[in-house]
Subunit: 291 residues, 2 copies
């Protein structure tokens, strides 16, 4: 079967001047994830690579480009999950780390824990020799624009294994230590080889209240399509807790969907040799990738 | 309809010398929660009161009685959730707070956030004037006994509103900043007036992998009984990720169950004027409460 990667750059009302940079960024990240899959990498490798690409791109609110909290600090959240074993790793409110998704993966692979927060996450990064970057370097000119949100990726590899990853700087002016949906298993992300992999974006507190990633996969488990499952869940979130958001989903058989109830969500997917992408509702453009 | 409260004092292999104290503790906490309900309090008030009673009791690993992490510190986690609105509040890796469940409730009621971690949770406690207690005071002689675990409570009030709360000191010798299932919505706890309220205990990382609280309620939503839903979910957790645990559940119509796959779980419930309680599998004792 064919391997697929889907990424999002955040669901929000994106101003025109950032829109093109955001779409270019998700397209590049999807290509990055796809190269990993084509080179024989696992779904887990692909989502890590795709999210790293967006963490390194200052247009997105994750890694470089993150927003400041109420104390003028950058606190980052990330999660990664392996659908084969349900293993996951997450870091929350971690500082001065350029690629929180890779720290989250190391939590998953090198500790007996699932979530490390705050100072503990930084102590762990130090113990494994992960480089730190000054806060100034993570903050960019984009910080001042109310535009960006969580980034994420889902993938299925040629063995039918699924994985997901999500990363964010959270919301501007958040309280110190505030953690949203992003690093929370079942809310910001979930991956299970028995159903699929999801990464969410949008109003974090609303996503938490309905555990959006698990909600979408519950509908998938009941036999609904990925797009219907996502739409039903986002509609429920709007009605029950008045929150908007978006989600990308991939199934073990290579189906995929990118759905949102916000004004816009930048997303891109590579399925076989076609790069699909969009920003506005119902927009689904494509380009043939060179061999 | 009749109001019900159910509490647990943790699922684990409990040594004989702690067993009686633990059962006495959950019975007292259930009575406490029941008094609140009988006095006209909400399900939310009842679960907070019941969990506070166990946080104040040094026999349980929550508040007074918590275990130490790898740095010799006490880091506490707690969550509370209101089934009417799906609102919830949680604190993770917070220090020097005697009743983390009440801090979690204040996060829910006084901030726009859901989860506050580490130093941020302590800054918030300070900002609302919540008293701190020295670490020494939280640690007791019981710390040295590998016995106790998360505590939790679920309740339904006479209006059919459900709520849950969970609180813990985590696992002994945990890494700094480690957060388990306890404060994670959908894993350690979940409450929804459309299905029921759950509080979980057991191997935290396994509970997170299967988002146990949501898994149990998914079965309830499919029409299964509370006991069957809990048993199926715990069995699945054992098979898929090799973890054991326990859960208490109430439904909006006043049904309830206390179920576990560990050797023991201390639990108690007040349903009408009867106090039910147990510790070993299939044990279900009762006492008539005085009027």
């Amino acid at each position: 079967m064919s391997a697929v990667v889907v990424v999002h750059g955040g669901a929000c009302a994106m101003p025109e001047d950032l829109a093109k940079a955001s779409v270019d960024g998700v397209k590049a990240a999807a290509r990055q994830g796809s190269s990993v899959l084509k080179g024989g990498g696992s779904a887990l490798d692909a989502v890590e690579a795709a999210v790293r690409a967006m963490e390194d791109n200052p247009v997105f609110n994750a890694g470089h480009g993150a927003v400041l909290n109420a104390d003028g600090e950058v606190e980052l959240d990330s999660i990664i999950m392996d659908g084969r074993t349900l293993a996951s790793g997450a870091v929350a409110a971690v500082k001065n780390i350029a690629n929180p998704v890779s720290l989250a993966r190391t939590v998953m692979e090198k500790t007996s824990h699932v979530i490390l927060t705050g100072r503990g996450a930084n102590l762990f990064a130090e113990s494994i020799g992960m480089a730190t970057v000054p806060t100034d370097e993570l903050v960019t000119e984009y910080e001042r624009k109310e535009a960006h949100d969580t980034v994420g990726a889902v993938a299925v590899d040629s063995d039918g294994n699924v994985a997901c990853a999500t990363s964010t700087g959270g919301i501007r002016n958040k309280m110190v230590g505030r953690v949203g949906d992003c690093p929370i298993i079942g809310s910001g992300a979930y991956a299970d080889n028995l159903s699929g992999a999801v990464s969410c974006t949008g109003h974090g507190e609303s996503i938490l209240k309905v555990t959006l990633a698990r909600l979408i996969l519950s509908h998938v488990e009941q036999g609904k399509s990925l797009a219907d499952s996502s739409q039903l869940s986002l509609q429920y979130m709007g009605e029950r807790v008045h929150g908007a958001g978006g989600a990308i989903v991939v199934s073990p058989s290579g189906q995929w969907a990118a759905t949102f109830s916000t004004e816009r969500m930048s997303w891109a997917a590579v399925d076989q040799d076609v790069l699909w992408y969009g920003l506005d509702p119902k927009e689904k453009l494509n380009e043939k990738l060179g061999q």
